[in-house]
C-alpha cells in the first residue's frame, strides 16, 4: 500500500509543477482536476473518507466548473465552429458577429 501512496504523491508533485508551467489555461485546469482526484484517492488511503468525498465533489467538480465558466467569460476558450468559420486568427469581436449570424 505504501508504494502505491508514494506513486500517487509523486504524481501530485508532477501535477503541481506542470500546472504552473503549462501555457494553456484550459490544460492547467484539467491538470488541476486530476490533482484533486488523486488527492481524494490519497484521503481514502489515509482513512478519512469524509474528506475524500468533499474533495472529489468540491475540488474536482465545482471549483473546476467555476474556473471553466471564468475562462468562458474572459473568452480564453474558443470553440471549434467559430475557428472554422473564421479560419482562425481573427479577433474576438469578429468571432461574436460570426456566431450571431450563424444562429
Amino acid at each position: 500500500m505504501t508504494v502505491f501512496q508514494y506513486i500517487l504523491m509523486g504524481f501530485l508533485i508532477v501535477c503541481t509543477i506542470s500546472v504552473s508551467f503549462s501555457k494553456n489555461l484550459l490544460n492547467s485546469i484539467l491538470i488541476y482536476m486530476s490533482y484533486s482526484l488523486v488527492m481524494s484517492i490519497l484521503w481514502v488511503c489515509l482513512e478519512s473518507p469524509d474528506l475524500a468525498i468533499t474533495e472529489a465533489a468540491v475540488g474536482a467538480g465545482v471549483t473546476s466548473v467555476l474556473f471553466f465558466a471564468t475562462l468562458k467569460k474572459i473568452q480564453a476558450i474558443r470553440i471549434e465552429h467559430d475557428q472554422k468559420a473564421n479560419s482562425g486568427g481573427q479577433q474576438t469581436a469578429g468571432q461574436t458577429e460570426e456566431a450571431v449570424r450563424h444562429e
Binding site: 473518507p49 469524509d50 468525498i53 468533499t54 465533489a57 468540491v58 467538480g61 465545482v62 466548473v65 467555476l66 465558466a69 471564468t70 468562458k72 467569460k73 470553440i79 465552429h81 467559430d82 461574436t96 456566431a99 450571431v100 444562429e103
Partner: protein, 320 residues
C-alpha cells in the same frame, strides 16, 4: 369599535408614511433635493492620442533593455530574487515538516483530554456512529453555524455584485455566452440523463446517513450542488427553472439557515444552563437517531447545495 378613516386624514398619519417608506412607494429625494442628470464626460480624440503616445514613449524608454542599463540590472535581480525566494520558502516548509512529530505516536500533543473525551463518551452523548459528524454538529455546533453563515453571506455578496435585473437579462440574451455553445449536445444530455438522478440520490443518501457513515451535510450538499450544475450545463436554465428558480432558492436557503439557528439555539441554551433537553437520542445505528444531528445535516446540505448552484448560475448568467 373602529371606523374607516377618510383617505385625506389617513394620509397624514404616521402609519401611512411608515408603510409607504417600507414598500418604497415614494422616492424621498424627489421634490426635496435638486436633481440633474450627470453630464457625459467627453474626452477629445487628440487627448487620447497624446496619452497613448506618451505611454508608448515611456514604455519604449523603460523596457528598452539595450539602452536602459538600470532596467536590465533590475530584471536580472528580479529573476534571481524570485528563484531565491522560492528555494528559501520550499526549504523552510520542508524543514518544518521534518520537525513535526510522527503520525500516530502516543506522545503527540493532539492526544489530550479533548480527543479522549470525544472518543470515549462521544457515542453515549451524541448517539452518532460517525464520530466526526457527532463532534462537529454537537460539541462544536456553534462553529458549524458560523461556517453556514459564512456561506450565506458569500452568496449574498456574489448576488449583490453579479445579479442582473430580469428586464436586462432578456435584452442581454443576444450576447449571452450560452449562445456560442452547441445547443442540445446529444452526448452531454444523454450522460446527464443517466447520471443526474444517481448523483442526486447519492447526495441525499450521504446527507441522511451523515451520523452513521462517512460524509454529512457539507459533502452531500456539495454533491447535490454538482449534480444541479451538471443538469444546468446540459439542459439549460429554462428547464432547471421548472423546479429550481429564484423563489425556491430563497425559500430553501433562508428556511435552512433559520431552522439551524432555532435548533442550535435550543441546544446551546439547554446545554449551557444545564437543563435537560427533550430531543431523544434514539438507538445508535438507526436512521432516526442521534438527536439534533440529522435535522442539522439536512439544513447544512440544503444551504451548501444552494450555494454551489447559485455561484455557478450567477457567474454564468447573472441570475438564478
Amino acid at each position: 369599535m373602529s371606523r374607516l378613516r377618510p383617505r385625506e386624514e389617513y394620509e397624514k398619519t404616521f402609519a401611512f408614511r411608515f408603510f409607504r417608506w417600507l414598500s418604497g412607494g415614494k422616492d424621498p429625494y424627489v421634490g426635496e433635493v435638486e436633481m440633474r442628470a450627470q453630464k457625459e464626460t467627453v474626452i477629445p480624440e487628440e487627448t487620447i492620442l497624446e496619452r497613448m503616445r506618451e505611454s508608448e514613449m515611456i514604455r519604449d524608454k523603460v523596457y528598452d533593455e539595450e539602452q536602459n542599463k538600470a532596467a536590465r540590472i533590475f530584471h536580472r535581480i528580479y529573476v534571481a530574487a524570485a528563484i531565491l525566494f522560492c528555494i528559501i520558502l520550499v526549504s523552510v516548509l520542508l524543514v518544518t515538516v521534518s520537525c513535526l512529530p510522527p503520525t500516530g505516536s502516543a506522545d503527540n500533543p493532539d492526544n489530550n483530554i479533548v480527543s479522549e473525551r470525544y472518543i470515549e463518551s462521544g457515542l453515549q452523548e451524541t448517539g452518532a456512529l460517525n464520530i466526526v459528524s457527532g463532534m462537529i454538529l454537537t460539541y462544536r455546533a456553534f462553529d458549524t453555524f458560523g461556517e453556514t453563515n459564512v456561506l450565506f453571506i458569500a452568496t449574498c455578496c456574489v448576488m449583490i455584485l453579479l445579479m442582473v435585473d430580469d428586464a436586462v437579462l432578456k435584452k442581454q440574451a443576444v450576447m449571452n455566452d450560452r449562445r456560442f455553445e452547441p445547443k442540445n449536445d446529444a452526448i452531454l444530455q444523454g450522460t446527464a440523463f443517466v447520471l443526474c438522478p444517481i448523483i442526486f440520490i447519492f447526495g441525499i443518501y450521504i446527507i441522511l446517513n451523515g451520523h452513521l457513515s462517512p460524509g454529512g451535510g457539507f459533502s452531500g450538499g456539495a454533491i447535490m450542488g454538482a449534480g444541479l450544475i451538471l443538469y444546468v450545463a446540459s439542459f439549460g436554465f429554462k428547464r432547471t427553472q421548472r423546479f429550481f428558480d429564484e423563489h425556491v432558492y430563497k425559500i430553501a436557503k433562508i428556511t435552512a439557515l433559520c431552522m439551524y439557528g432555532l435548533i442550535g439555539t435550543y441546544f446551546y441554551m439547554t446545554g449551557a444552563n444545564g437543563i435537560e433537553n427533550h430531543i431523544p437520542l434514539g438507538i445508535p445505528g438507526h436512521i432516526l437517531s442521534s438527536g439534533i444531528i440529522l435535522p442539522i445535516n439536512v439544513c447544512v446540505g440544503l444551504e451548501v447545495a444552494c450555494t454551489m448552484y447559485a455561484f455557478y448560475a450567477l457567474f454564468r448568467r447573472g441570475g438564478l
